[in-house]
Symmetry: C2
Subunit: 357 residues, 2 copies
Amino acid sequence: MKIAMVGCGALAEIYYAPVVQELQADGLAEMSVLCDPDVSRLKKLRTPFAMAAAKNRIEEVVAAKPDLAIVASPPRFHAEQTIALLDAGISVLCEKPMAATVPEAEAMIAAAEKASVPMAIGLFRRFFPVNRTIRDLVRNGNLGAVRRFEISEGGAFQWPAQSASFFQKSASQGGVLADVGVHVLDLILWWFGMPERVRYEDDAMGGLEANCRMELSFPGGVSGTVRLSRDTALQNQTVIEFERGWVRCAAAAANEMEIGFAGAEFAVAGQVRKTEGPRAPHSLPGDSSHQSFARQLRSFLVAVRGEGPVEVPGPEGIRSLRLIESCYRQRTLMEMPWLSPGEKAHASALAQSVAEP
Amino acid sequence: MKIAMVGCGALAEIYYAPVVQELQADGLAEMSVLCDPDVSRLKKLRTPFAMAAAKNRIEEVVAAKPDLAIVASPPRFHAEQTIALLDAGISVLCEKPMAATVPEAEAMIAAAEKASVPMAIGLFRRFFPVNRTIRDLVRNGNLGAVRRFEISEGGAFQWPAQSASFFQKSASQGGVLADVGVHVLDLILWWFGMPERVRYEDDAMGGLEANCRMELSFPGGVSGTVRLSRDTALQNQTVIEFERGWVRCAAAAANEMEIGFAGAEFAVAGQVRKTEGPRAPHSLPGDSSHQSFARQLRSFLVAVRGEGPVEVPGPEGIRSLRLIESCYRQRTLMEMPWLSPGEKAHASALAQSVAEP
C-alpha cells in the first residue's frame, strides 16, 4: 500500500516516520510521497525514505495517486488538503485537530461520504489501553455509575514544532485548548457523551490562551473539570470516580493505571494487560504510547483494505471541535490574583475585545 | 515487653527470630525466654538472642513470667502449652493450626476467656494486602456479588522442618489439608462465611494425604474449589470471580494482584498499595509477605498492651479446624487413573480402614 506523508514537521519525523518504517519492514506499506513546502524538511524526511518522491504541493500528491495520505500539516491546511485527496479517491488519515473550524470539518465529512473513501482522524489516545479500559468501565458499569472526573495536563511547552503556527493567532484556532485540549475533550466525549452544561475560562488577553479551565456536567449526574496549561506544571493525571471505586492514570502513560475501591484500604497500581479472563494462562502487556500510535495507522490500513471499520471517523472527530468552539464563544477571563487592579481592568478589556470579533 | 519463644524449629528460626530482632531494635520488646526440648535448637536460636534464658519445659517458661509467649511447637503440643501459659496470665500467640483437635481448641478458647488474657492465632495471611483487599471487595460488593473461586497451592514439600511431625500420622492431625489447608480454609471462611455444603476427596491410603480437592458451596450461591498438593506443582493462585469482574493473585505474593472487569479488553496487574483515595498525593506499597508476618506480631503487641483488638482470636482460629475435621470425616478417595484394577481395590480398602478408625 502506497502512503503519502502530507506535512513533514515534527509529527511526521518523530511519530509517523518510524511507524511507516515498521510497516515497510513488515511488507504492509511503503512511503511513496513526501509533501512539504519547505525543501529542508523534505530533505530531512527523505533520509529514511530514499525511494519516496518529494513534492511541494497537494496537487502533486493527488497526481501521484497514493493509496492513502497522512495529513499532518498545520491545522489551517487540513480541510483543503484532505478534501483534495478524498475527491481523488485517496483515503486520508488526518491529524488532530481535524480542521481549523467546524464548517471546514463538516465539508471534510461530506467529501468523505461523497467519495465513499475511508477518512480517519488521528486521535491516537483512543488506542491507549488505559483509555479503552475507562471506556469499558463506563459502558459496562463494572464499578457502578460515574460520579466525577478531574483531568489536568500541563507543563512548559516542549513540542519541537517546526513552524510557529502553535503560537500565531493567524495560524491556530486557539491555544492549549485547541491543541492538547482536542485529545482530552475527544476522550471525554467518547467516554461520557455530550455535556449538557459547560463553563469555560482561560487567560487569553488578545492572544492565544496558555491556561484554561472547564467545568462540565452531563445528563445523569456526571460532572468534572479539565485544567490545561502550556506554562504551569500540573498533576498530569486523569482521575475518574465511580460509585464503587476510582481509577487514576498519568497523562502520558498508555498502559499504567491505578484502581481503587470504595471502602477498601488498598488500591492496585500497575500495568494494563490484554486479558482473556482469569483462567487464560497469560495476560500480555497492553500497547505503550508509541505502540498505540502505531496501532492507529495499522488499524487504518485495515480499514483502507476494506477489512475493518474506521476507528475514529469524521463524525467522531468533529465533536471535540464543536465543543472547543462553544468554549471559545463563552470564554471568561480566569482569575489572576497577581494582577494589580489597573492590570486587571486592562486584561478584561483585552479579553472582551477577543470575545467579540 | 518480654517475649518467650516456645518451640525453636524452622518457623522460630526463619520467621519469628528476625521479627523479634526488629522489635528489639525498635525498643518494643525483647526475647527473654527460648524453650525447646532439643538442646541443639536452643543453642542455634540463642545466637541472635544471647540474653534470653534457655528452657526445656513449658513449666519453666511459665515460671519465667514473660509478657507474651509465641507457641510454635508441633501442633500436638499447642493446647497443653497455650493453656498452661494462659492460666498463668501470659498472653499467647499460637501458631496455626491452633490445635490438633477441635476439643483441644475449645479448651484453649475457654482458658483465654477465663484468664481474660489475649490469645491470637498465627494466621499471618490475614495480614496480606491482597487478602484484605479481597475481603473488602466481597464485603463492600465493589465488583458485585461473588460467583465462584478457584484456589490451588501445590509443589514439592520444601519446608525446612526440624522434626518429622509433618509426615507422621501419630504427630500430625493430617497431611496437606491440616498444614497449608489451614491457611487456605481460614481465608475462605473469613471471606465467604460458613459453607453449607462441602465435598472432599484426597489420596490418603492409610497415611497422610499428599493431595486433596474440595468443592464448597455457600448460602447465596457462591461456590468454589480448593486443590492442594505436597507433590504436584499446581497453578498456585487464587481466582475469585465476581458479577462484574475478577481478581487473580499468586499464592505467595502478599501485595500483587491482577484485576479484570467483565466485558473489558484489558485487566490491571500490579502492586497492592495503601491508599487514601484518588486525590491523596501518594499511595505506598502494601506489606510484603515478610512484612505481613512482622505486622501480625506487632499487632499482637498492641493487643497485649490493651491498645487494640486481637486480629485473629480463638473463635476465628477454630473455624478452619472444624471444617478440616468435617472434611476428614467424609473423605473419599481421589480418582487415580494410573492405578491398575488390583491396586485400586487395595487403595480403596486402605482408605476405608482410615475412614473407620
